[in-house]
């Protein structure tokens, strides 16, 4: 599918409007200098918005503004409404959905709003501003015996963004769910500049609940993915936290780039493999049903282990050469981490796990664990190494990945493998040894799961870049044809394509957009254009 993006207003930010904005945030927090604005037009996956470039978005912002408070944001939004200036907010700004595709938009960088407002240890939630990262929250939460969800991008992502405006799943979903489901109270500056406080917050009852009174307005701002900056700005949110059975200050050993988390005595890590998808799936269901375990996760072993153990691509390559022929034997696996404050609970869990593995003809996979357990535990608990997936070729992207049942996820993996094969054979993707390189696992004890097909390509190489776009088209069509849920892929042109297939959601989003943002001040590039018509 092509991303055909419409040209926006070709406007230059009027000086007087600039001055008004400057009076809100101070001169040091706004800039229309071309050096500053150009830097914001460089993005990961920009090649999907701009096929002729590896990293440059089709447009750059008119100015960049750095608000420091909700009140400043309100004022900015009001000015923009009055003077027809569009806004695109971002938190950490990682990924082309943060960026700008048409002219006439100012970039709102929420970096200055970076506080953890509160961590309620007893009631297990935290309140954060946009620039708080998952790692910052995790370390503070762990001091209180709690843990947070971290998305697959790695812990340098914005907690608030992944709960509200964006999407994302993570390795610990079995225990910490995914952030669509962790969102509690929200403070939201609407596109017209009002402050909407969702749930219990609006009723003056605190942050603990994001739903109600009556219908849940959480349903407006977040579904499969969020608003991607297209419907106002979220300035604070509360997110659910989860019990952490490990030490309040985990011991991190090692040195750059190979760190590890000393495995606490009450933690056990297992990697288990089966002979085929069906056995692995059966085991997944049984383990989840037994409710044992802290983490259950599957990434493509053959690639992930050398990626973790190799400090550079060269080291990775040497290891890959060594294990390439073993790959097939270990592909149907998952990693389980058991953890409990209670010794007897841990013993029980081990017993159950071993019994299930036995029952399903699984085998425990020891060799990588013996001396690498700290590295693997750190990798799973913090996901700090996840962005190594960029390293082999300079960039990766993903496909499939709908939230669905594990059986359907596996179905997707089988289909994904078929599609992927030719791109590997044509050498336009990295031959990572994984037939399908699907990464995912169960959430909330397998209430649902997700499994996304990763692929590594070089966006600097025009052929590889072109292949990536082609593969995504093919994969997306495969998801639709095989009915494996709603695939990953935000943006209005994608909404136009997917919307009619999935309940005309593009039309609903367009109506919501028109109602809440009558002047279309929030840049809709990755949300939905107002008043979108239903495709026949």
């Amino acid at each position: 599918m092509k991303r055909e993006l419409k040209e926006g207003n070709k406007m230059v930010l009027e000086k007087k409007v600039y001055k008004m904005l400057e009076s809100v945030v101070g001169p040091e927090n706004i800039s229309d200098d071309p050096i500053i604005t150009t830097v914001y037009s460089y993005q990961y996956l920009a090649d999907l918005a701009n096929p002729d470039s590896a990293k440059w978005m089709p447009a750059k912002p008119e100015a960049v503004i750095l608000p420091g408070s909700t009140e400043e944001i309100q004022e900015i939004v009001r000015i923009c409404n009055k003077h027809n200036v569009k806004i695109k907010p971002h938190s950490t700004g990682w990924g082309f959905w943060s960026g700008i595709v048409t002219s006439g938009v100012i970039q709102m960088d929420l970096r200055r709003m970076n506080r953890i407002i509160e961590i309620d240890e007893k009631n297990m939630y935290a309140v954060v501003e946009p620039y708080v990262t998952a790692m910052q929250l995790q370390v503070e939460a762990m001091k209180r015996g709690l843990d947070c969800a971290i998305i697959g991008a790695g812990p340098n992502h914005s907690v608030l963004a992944s709960c509200t405006a964006m999407m994302g799943y993570g390795d610990k979903g079995y225990h910490t769910s995914m952030n669509n489901r962790n969102l509690l109270g929200v403070e939201w500056v609407t596109p017209t500049g009002e402050v909407l406080r969702l749930g219990s917050l609006g009723s003056g009852a605190g942050w603990f609940c994001g739903d109600g009174p009556g219908p849940s307005l959480r349903g407006l701002l977040r579904g499969w993915h969020g608003t991607m900056g297209g419907l106002g700005i979220f300035t604070k949110c509360a997110t659910k936290l989860y019990p952490w059975a490990g030490p309040k200050k985990p011991e991190i050993m090692g040195e750059n780039p190979q760190y590890g988390m000393v495995v606490p005595e009450n933690f056990k890590i297992y990697t288990i493999y089966w002979e085929n998808w069906e056995q692995q799936a059966d085991a997944m269901y049984k383990v989840s049903e037994s409710e044992i375990g802290y983490i259950i996760w599957r990434a493509c072993t053959p690639m992930m282990i050398p990626l973790l153990l190799g400090k550079t691509n060269n080291e990775y390559y040497e290891m890959m050469k060594g294990i390439y022929d073993m790959i097939e034997a270990y592909r149907y696996y998952f990693t389980v981490v058991l953890a409990s404050e209670s010794k007897r609970e841990l013993e029980y869990q081990e017993k159950v796990l071993k019994s299930i593995v036995d029952e399903t003809n699984g085998k425990f996979f020891e060799f990588i664990l013996s001396e690498n357990a700290p590295l693997i535990l750190l990798a799973i608990v913090t996901q700090c190494y996840n962005s190594r997936i960029f390293r082999p070729t300079g960039q990766f992207h993903t496909s499939f990945g709908a939230a669905t049942s594990w059986d359907m996820s596996v179905k997707g993996a089988k289909i994904g493998e078929q599609i992927r094969r030719k791109y590997i054979e044509e050498e336009v993707f990295h031959d990572d040894g994984c037939g399908e390189n699907f990464w995912g696992g169960p959430y909330e004890h397998n209430k649902f799961s997700h499994f996304e097909g990763l692929f590594e390509y070089d966006p600097i190489d025009p052929e590889s870049r072109k292949a990536a776009r082609k593969y995504i088209e093919e994969a997306t069509m495969a998801v639709i044809e095989n009915k494996i849920g709603v695939p990953i892929g935000p943006g209005p042109e994608l909404a136009q394509i997917f919307g009619p297939i999935y309940g005309n959601f593009h039309s609903w989003l367009g109506k919501i957009k028109k109602s809440f943002d009558p002047k279309n001040v929030s840049d809709h590039a990755f949300y939905a254009a107002p008043e979108e018509k239903t495709k026949d």
């Binding site: 050096i35 830097v39 550079t312 990295h430």
Partner: protein, 432 residues
Amino acid sequence: MSLEKYHVQTLRCNRCSLCKWVPQPKIASWRFSAACPSIQKYNFHAYSGGGRIIIACALLENKIDYTDELVKIVYTCSMCGACDVSCKMNYGGNLEPLEIMHALRVKCVEKGRIPTRHKTLLEDIREYDNPYREPRKKRGEWAEGMGIKDLSHETAEVLYYVGCTSAYRLPGLARTTATILQNAGVDFGILGKDELCCASTAYKIGDEALMEEYAKNNIEKFNNLGVKEVVTSCAGCYHMFKSYYPLIGEMNFDVFHITEYIERLMGEGRIKLSKRIPIKATYHDPCHLGRLAEPRVPWNGVEKKVMGQLIITDPPKEVRFGVKGVFDPPRNILKGIPGLEFVEMERIREYSWCCGSGGGVKAAFPELASFAAAERIEEANATGAEALVTACPFCEINLGDAIRERREKIKLYDIVELVLEAMHEEGVKGGQ
């Protein structure tokens, strides 16, 4: 390597902002999680390591020009390498932020587009052989009355290389170091007024030619002295000798930082730390002694693709992860002082927070230097330490300025002061 040769690397930044934080697993609190003083102060993405990589890319693709704003962004950076360490944790050698930023500075120098203050610094180095505009003849004055060998006409096993900052700004540091060496019975000498700048400042600003000129000169001079070892108490000079000089010429001597040397002398029983110093102290890892002091292994290979699109180097390139600097010797020394209670800050070793003075920042952007130092003082205070110890005169000056400006109670020491004190000798009393 010229900026052009980094073009491909500049397209590999994936805008993840890891460069703004200490390596993720080493984040121990929300408060002290940041790695980069520049982005912490200025906030626009351009001021991060990743931001400067993007600037380099944009310049190479003629999207932007060498404006005043660009110059300001490029040079409001102490070139501390924290971004480089964090980036490489996950991206290995795919891109090298510090090298790219350095190549960007080299380009700025070529274009004549550098801060005015830096132009002056370069001129001063040429004119005076030091960036402080101090007369050459005064360079050795700190040693008067100490009876130290003058290697311009004497020989010794060891050269004590003092460095511009100690010689002209912290003479007490030089005297203390020399006293330690004397008391340990080390056969050493100094160059005095014949000592030249190591050219660290020139290199950091991006004047590679000037640096090479001084490096060649120094290497030749040191070789000609016939010394077996060169010891320095300046972290800045140390990192030049360890990581850049070997690329310039063959060095017939080993290089040590004074902390390495003291640790060795302690092991040999030539230094005994016997006097109690009952203080709670924390240690600031100077960037130039730590992550930046990692030696460079020359590489003239190519990148190639295997297994489809996998990028490897041929031959394999040694990637600098910032871990082969001097981290343990200062700690071992402090832990060896009786009565001293040693506590660590959160940002240490290869992910230490920069004091803010390097890279020409102290001279041209004192507000940034001050900001970074203040942050470090706060971090030191958070440990409950009474004393902040460092092993770099440049860090000492900048941290000292911040302590004075903020009227902080914490006492600042160079490690050699505590060593001398603990050796039962009359040394310079510590603190400000």
